[in-house]
Symmetry: C2
Subunit: 163 residues, 2 copies
DNA sequence: CCTGTAAATGTTATAATATTTCAAACTTTG
DNA sequence: CAAAGTTTGAAATATTATAACATTTACAGG
């Protein structure tokens, strides 16, 4: 998996999308998982920007594709994509975002800009370490970590309302 | 604010509740905030256990009190309690839990047992430190951190289905 | 005590998010 | 091909949250 663009900075986003799709195909093949047309399309829609997309936003776009989909279609696709680590759910926003570390074994940390809406996913191993330490100090067996940081990205600290 | 019981272990929970209410009254007085009967009752309901309670669970209990409440009543009370740091929202569960560090300046970390449902709130300053470090390394100004760890509490690692 | 003002609550309706259920179509495998 | 399992379609409904506006309550200043 190659280097990634930084959401907050302008970049050729088509490259992000096609990289994500290529990776996804490879990952699914390796895992014998079926990246069906619907699933692939949902992944592509999720990747249309670095802003999290709600399930109903995805649904609306599927509809404007001409695809007559109902909510379960979208949620099922999203479940599949999550299970295979291709998208993440941002709990604090009830929305979904493409995973920039697909295939890697990771538990991400998300930096969510409240001004422009872009989200950066980080690996932050030092954070994970401390989280595990804190948990095991309490005898707690950590299985799944939700770590979402809302704030202001570098660009929006300077000037507001970037896209 | 005095020492707290550990949710996972049996304890005199009435003491938790009255401690929480006493603290809340003191905190609101200090801040010139009005802990009205509804707000206090909602806080008490949230504190009825160490398991997060959904807004509609609170609503149902208000109704069985004989109080004919609608959703906004509950959400408003919860907003107030959150603003004053008396309850926390657990984003990954869409539910609310009493704050065990009310009055202290903190950004909590939550250990959520997927078996018994109890939640322990930790201060974990080392984690906060690493989170801030990771964020500022990206030039990101962190304002609000959601940190929720799902897993198994000590008791449920041994035997399942504690209450 | 009145009264103006702000804060809090009541009330109705609706928006936004997510799941259940059962049926039909498609894929894979024997 | 047939059986079995997986995926998708479709309708209904559940769950969570907010908008908008009316009414009531608290309380500070006159």
């Amino acid at each position: 998996m190659s280097a990634r663009a930084i959401p907050y900075r302008p970049h050729n986003h088509d490259a992000c999308v096609s990289l994500a799709l290529t990776d996804a195909r490879a990952i699914c093949q390796r895992r014998n998982a079926r990246l069906t047309p619907i699933r692939e399309r949902v992944l592509e829609l999720i990747w249309q920007s670095h802003k999290p997309l709600g399930a109903y936003d995805v649904l609306a776009q599927l509809s404007s594709d001409g695809h007559n989909a109902a909510p379960p279609t979208v949620y099922r696709a999203l479940d599949f994509l999550q299970q295979h680590g291709l998208v993440h759910r941002i709990a604090s926003l009830n929305a979904f975002i493409g995973c920039t570390h697909a295939g890697e074994n990771h538990s991400g940390m998300f930096l969510i800009c409240r001004a422009c809406g872009n989200v950066l996913e980080l690996a932050a191993p030092a954070v994970s370490t401390e989280v595990c330490k804190a948990a095991s100090k309490e005898g707690f067996r950590a299985e799944d970590t939700t770590l979402e940081v809302a704030g202001l990205c570098p660009r929006c600290q300077a000037e507001p309302d970037h896209d």
